[in-house]
Subunit: 286 residues, 2 copies
Amino acid sequence: MQRLFEKVTIIGPGLIGGSLGFALLERGVCEEVVGVGRRQCSIDEAVRLGAVTSATLDIEEGVAGADLVVLATSVGTIPTLAQRAIPHMKESALLTDVGSTKRLIVNEIEKLLADDSGIGFVGSHPLAGSEKRGVQAAREDLFDNSVCVLTPTARTKAETTEAVANLWTAVGARVVLLDPAQHDSILSRVSHLPHVVAAALLNLLADSDMPFAASGFRDTTRVASSDVNLWTEICAHNKQEILNALDALRAELDRISAALGRDDLNALRDYLNRAKERRDSLNRGR
Amino acid sequence: MQRLFEKVTIIGPGLIGGSLGFALLERGVCEEVVGVGRRQCSIDEAVRLGAVTSATLDIEEGVAGADLVVLATSVGTIPTLAQRAIPHMKESALLTDVGSTKRLIVNEIEKLLADDSGIGFVGSHPLAGSEKRGVQAAREDLFDNSVCVLTPTARTKAETTEAVANLWTAVGARVVLLDPAQHDSILSRVSHLPHVVAAALLNLLADSDMPFAASGFRDTTRVASSDVNLWTEICAHNKQEILNALDALRAELDRISAALGRDDLNALRDYLNRAKERRDSLNRGR
């Protein structure tokens, strides 16, 4: 693997940031990975596990001299941390984030950068992860065979997009470019809606139903074990799109209820068949 | 393991029936397992894999002399096959089924049995399985640590329930007794609703969303790959309870939309937190 950067700083070396650190170091994509964390025990753990080569609690010190800074904290804190990091970054450095929403984050960070800023920013969203969190769950191969969305805007320089795309490609992801609003619309359906629906499926149960929840239910609701604060922030960031997705789901549920209510088993079978074909095609795509 | 039966006949040695056959034979619960199938190639495969000791296409021949007959076909065909099997069963034999719905099936089968019939029937529903089907997917340990619901009624003799409970306990399941209607109500929430919701989440996607469906979406919708005909029958059998569960889901979605719509992030966080606590408790229960 070609060395792409000398020094990369990861703000928030948790599941995603830590996995990126592991992958960058093990694949020789950069020489040095600096972790910036909020708690001494987390950054000590990141160093001990080898997800970063060094770590600090001081964001100014952490970003100084970095060729690339990756904001890998929860979506609600990314703009604030960008604001604290930018004044201390090298003039020629690159900046990206890994937030699960893009429109608000990209807009906020672009506002922080002057038109003549040498810092090149493009938003990233690696579609990888799990319901687990923390550097303990980080894995060198987390991004292998995953998709990473980059969201350049009219203000993004082509060389910034290219350099950040090379980063994600180097750790195993396939890069796809989307407009930030288009990203948020798609993710509301493939990620945010399934998440809140999993919560709804759990919350509608009676306590006495719980012993009968078997493997199908467990799979369907696994994502509801994810970090609650992070997901509250995601919902707040992508409010309108998630409301739209909830409406789209209501329309689908109405179709199911209508077919069932009029005993139209052919319509129901066609409905389930269309879903099965789509779901089976996801397996073939792997 | 104590031998409980000499000869058990499994009508439909597929995923569930085949796994039961493997478990009964490997754990020494019975001497002989006869498979009854519809197609020569399926029953040959069941014999070849060792899920049954012998097999036939002829239901009359298959059930003759059996101490226990297990109906392990799809819910829509269970009552008809019971009707064909009962006249050829031993007077003292036991009968059970493994259907995912119980109220209609139990009612139909009890109607087939005269009050003075020596055949003892109780409905079973082993809460185990997967989106896969066929004896190729059968596993000796499928029922280990699972729950198996038995649904005795006022007409069920205590010794029938006890003998069938012993069968499921012998293959690794924990037996729970429920009224058939109570079973169907609970299952509508923990199994049937998640299934149709998975289909809805798939069907509301735009084709262009599909490349962005990552591991969370895959897990949430895995059950939608299940057999479509079987699930259409389940929906038809449990229509009213599933319609009720769909209404309960709509009420939950309305709560989420309302909290999000008024930017009440505390309510949303509490909602997601309640779901996470429930989901985490399922993991601890294993």
